[in-house]
Amino acid sequence: MSSETVNSAAPGARSSVRAVIQSNLRDYGLVVALLAIMVFFQFTTNGTLFKPVNLTNLVLQNSYIIIMALGMLLVIVGGHIDLSVGSVSGFIGAVAAILMVEYGFNPLVAGVLCIMLGGLIGASQGFWIAYLKIPSFIVTLAGMLVFKGLSLAILGGRSVGPFPPEFQMLSAGFIPDVFGPIAIPQGGAAPITLHTTTLVIGIAIVVAMIYFSLTSRAARERHGYEAEPFALFAVKTAVIGALILFFTYTLASYRGIPNVMVVMSILIALFVFITKMTTLGRRIYALGGNAKAAQLSGIKTERLTFYIFVIMGALSALAGLIFAARLNTATPKAGQGFELDVIAAVFIGGASMAGGVGQVAGAVIGAFIMGVMNNGMSIMGVNIDWQQVIKGLVLLGAVVFDVYNKNKA
């Protein structure tokens, strides 16, 4: 046994680069697809896509979809679906408008109340799904109709706004530049002013990322476990680092990091942490993978399902607030069709309809793929009808690629 491992060590190292790429084809493929789509639109929009103002817009436009996609990932990994998220987010936007505009609530108080209400809505749907075993498709389809109707009812068919300026800052504001801007002279042209704090944060993130991936790699090796080949590790880290730096530099040359992006980033990090490193996350994957086996392993599957929907409800509420702040008004139509974008993002990101499979990173990238296509096609002047057609085909293509890939393996 031991002589075999020693002998195969040298050629094994080379072939394992290929093996690692092959086994992660889906993940790498997704990133490459996103980059390819971005480059494509960069050309077809004559360089508008990567303009600082547009990149900032891209983040603002997609933040609420991404935030809901995080919750939807848990729902879908857990083996369920939530069709009500669009209606719930619209309903919460309406409630927020009534509270702040008509009753003059403090934005912070109103925001907290709204998120709690979202959790309560999630609980009210999760109850039927978890404890009474009503299929989630049906419960949330009902929820979709109910909350669409309720937001019409409480708004009385009108639009309510504008919101107090503090609340608008949620979606329109940027983080303050504590270091003060720096200007880079451009020869004869106007100098570029950079948002220094944004740059500092970007660099800090890259440094932290390199540090943590190196230490976890070292820990694995110290305990004698195989880590991915160093060349691959280095290339991967370098590419991700470069992307983060490019991204923050571009944001810095406009107005810096939007407030919403801070919220979104914290949530993404939190959900990556939950799904990858906590017992809660592991239990959700076990639930979706085989609910009966999970239950017989001592997992309280009913309570877990219930909590998943509570989380989804709270995130839908947050997304509803962000969207309302962005429009600066609550309209009865807000949130309509969001559920489709959110669900599409999660499936493009590689989640399985049957549950048990899916990654937060995939869902986020899936959301960005949809977002970049929306944005790029709009700039190109593609009609909304054809945009729908193309998005539909991309969704189908991604899932077909997935299934084909899985069957081949």
Binding site: Y225, T278, A286, G289, N290, K292, A294, L296, G298
Partner: protein
């Protein structure tokens, strides 16, 4: 009579990195029962998939000749067309259709797409008569037990004018009575000229009914034995490549004081709530003791175990459970696990494993607290645990990152065992722990059981294979119709005594 109907010559099938079959030869003559035996992963199922066209012509080397014609099956339809029908281990019936509908599924008795119900029912009735199943053709399949479902599958095969019937582990989930009926049926088919290929791990059955036996090992044909040459010992030697002197590892029992005790356990059926499924069971297991529960299918063994384990079966459950003489609450799985009880299910694929996840995650799932702190999983610790148990239970896999769905039955069972061992129970309830796994893996499972008993744990084994219970248990309870009808010390128990207890018990409940 001895016309060869099937010849498979030089079959080689390669998967990326593995040669599943290597130059395998097999021939079947008209009207014979030809058994194929071999350890898990020996290539039996792969060979049958080649034969039935699941792996289409061109994806393997070698040739398949059926009734003198070389076959180029593109799929299962092509092989069925010439009269080769395969019945899989996992039955392919639609539970919410009737028996008659299932029999003619894909082969409907219809004119211009309109089903001729009279013909369907009559045809079904005739076929049911042939297979000896006394049920109304309109009964939903879901209301039948596994044994009867198997007969429906065979009736379905007969409806397709079958010439060669392939049965993959047909008796794995059947009790002895049903198994015998099924085997008798195969023998009766011989007269009609229907040949059968029987894949089975139950060597006693194979040696009883098979005309010839082909042994596969590591993807190669080892030998084909004639009727006269067949003996269980020779089959085993051929399968594992070395003689196994004893099928049950030796053990010196060191039985301590009472560990686990159940008193007056009563369970009602979850749907027909007025019916008692378990009717006042009393039993106990001592430390270091291996206790068996024998009984026929439907005697309530699994129901007893699952109702004890977090009330995962049944309704209106009453009775008391004691661990170390103290009453314990086992009303949820979590509480049962915390009380020191583990239940290893009889159906590892449905109830035991997350097949789309790898070994590491499956091993830790019943004891996540053991690899985490404050809800955060320590990845390295989890990896260490998984590697540790992989070595201890001898799970054969490329690494702990292999998906459990890609493991053979024996190795899957070891993963389920590892999962429960890591939860460190005092009492382990093993429900059919060796169902559908090969001789070598069975021996390993028995060794693990012995080791656990040696550590002072109590083991409760439910099994339909009486020799297995006789081989490993210190004490055997006999169950029938929801009652304990006998208790035998290991050294004085015999198959005959167990059967007698069951029969006596049947008289009592009437």
């Amino acid at each position: 009579m001895s016309k060869t109907i099937l010849e498979m010559r030089g079959i080689t099938k390669t998967f990326p990195g593995v040669k599943a079959l290597q130059d395998v030869n097999l021939d079947v003559v008209e009207g014979e029962i030809h058994a194929i035996v071999g350890e898990n992963g020996a290539g039996k199922s792969t060979l049958m998939k080649v034969l039935s066209g699941v792996y289409p012509h061109g994806s393997y080397e070698g040739e398949v000749v059926f009734e003198g014609n070389e076959c180029h099956f593109k799929g299962i339809h092509d092989s069925e067309k010439v009269g080769i029908v395969i019945i899989h281990q996992e039955l392919a019936l639609v539970p919410l259709l009737s028996i008659a509908e299932n029999i003619f599924l894909g082969n409907e008795r219809a004119r211009n797409g309109v089903i001729d119900w009279a013909e369907v029912r009559n045809g079904a009735r005739k076929l049911l008569e042939t297979v000896g199943l006394d049920e109304d053709p309109d009964t939903f399949v879901t209301h039948l037990g596994t044994g009867k479902q198997q007969l429906v599958e065979i009736a379905k095969a007969l409806s397709k004018k079958v010439k060669l019937l392939i049965l993959d582990e047909p008796t794995a989930s059947l009790a002895e009575k049903d198994s015998n009926a099924l085997l008798d049926l195969l023998v009766s088919f011989k007269k009609q000229g229907i040949a059968s290929i029987l894949i089975s791990h139950k060597l006693n059955e194979v040696s009883k009914v098979a005309d010839r036996i082909t042994v596969l090992r590591d993807g190669k044909t080892i030998e084909t034995m004639n009727r006269a040459e067949i003996s269980e010992d020779r089959i085993i030697t051929s399968m594992v490549g070395r003689p196994i002197e004893d099928r049950y590892p030796a053990r010196t029992p060191q039985v301590g004081e009472t560990l686990f005790e159940v008193k007056n356990w009563v369970v009602h059926h979850p749907i027909h709530t007025e019916r008692q499924v378990i009717k006042g069971v009393n039993l106990n297991v001592r430390k270091g003791e291996v206790v068996g529960i024998a009984g026929l299918m439907g005697s309530g063994r699994t129901e007893l175990a699952m109702s004890l384990f977090g009330r995962t079966y049944g309704h209106a459950i009453s009775g008391d459970v004691f661990m170390n003489r103290k009453p314990v609450d086992t009303s949820t799985v979590r509480k049962a696990v915390d009380a020191g009880i583990a239940y290893v299910t009889e159906d590892r694929k449905t109830y035991g494993l997350n097949l789309i996840d790898h070994i590491k995650h499956n091993v830790s799932i019943a004891n996540l607290l053991g690899v985490s702190r404050g809800g955060v999983i320590d990845d390295l610790k989890e990896l260490k645990v998984a590697n540790d148990y992989r070595a201890r239970t001898n799970i054969r896999s490329s690494s702990v990152y292999q998906l459990t769905g890609n493991l053979s039955g024996g190795n899957q069972q070891k993963v389920v065992l590892s999962k429960w061992l890591f939860a460190d129970p005092q009492l382990l309830i093993l429900d059919e722990p060796t169902r559908g796994i090969d001789v070598g893996a069975k021996y390993e499972i028995y060794t693990i059981i012995n080791k656990l008993a040696g550590e002072g744990r109590g083991i409760l084994v439910i099994s339909s294979e009486m020799p297995e219970l006789l081989g490993i248990c210190d004490r055997i309870y006999v169950m029938n119709e929801g009652r304990i009808v006998g208790e035998l010390a290991g050294d004085e128990a015999s198959q005959e005594k167990i059967m007698r207890a069951i029969v006596r018990g049947e008289g009592k409940t009437a």
